[in-house]
Symmetry: C2
Subunit: 112 residues, 2 copies
């Protein structure tokens, strides 16, 4: 689990914001989520991801990629496609995905 924000990467880069509300069914979720992390981390051009969830409420996950080509590899991965299908069938009450190109970014670290 992320405990610090990801870095401000050098623009331009790509980010996918996945905001969602889960169902009460979490059967198999953690196991498949771990597997998806292994797959995405192996994609060239993958930069990082971060996630937050308000208990009983909204979850937001952001994945960062160097370019759209890297994101396309992730989107078209067959195991990822199967996981998305499972998500719609069982795990998500609702979600929205926003795919964007980051034009600027900056970070702050206390005493950093």
């Amino acid at each position: 689990m992320t405990t610090q924000p990801v870095a401000a990467f050098e623009p331009p880069y790509v980010m996918a914001v996945f905001s969602n509300v889960r169902t009460a069914d979490d059967t198999g979720f953690d196991e498949l989520n771990d597997r998806m992390e292994e797959i995405v981390e192996a994609i060239p051009g993958y930069l990082g991801y971060e996630s937050a969830r308000t208990p009983g409420g909204l979850g937001i996950t952001v994945a960062y990629f160097r370019d759209h080509e890297a994101l396309t590899v992730w989107r078209e991965n067959l195991q990822h496609q199967a996981a998305m299908k499972r998500g719609r069938a069982d795990w998500y009450e609702s979600y929205t995905l926003h795919v964007a190109t980051v034009e600027r970014s900056h970070g702050f670290v206390r005493n950093g």
Copy 2:
């Protein structure tokens, strides 16, 4: 507090992802946060925002705007600038801001 993801707006639009870790100091935070919501909601071109926070961990807030001009009005608002300064002084251990143009988006609602 948001309990559903925001809609998939018609691209292109702008989003600002603010991921952060808070300090233990929350003095005055909720009051100022409510005031900031009032201000941003009054800006023409503001589309919406959503927020999630893992207890004791990462928070992610995403604000959506029709275009960069609307976001600039928000960034340059004097009360917002004072609030950001207060955030760096007291409330945030670390944060990263990513400003991006959304090129595509889609949503899913169960039985929707």
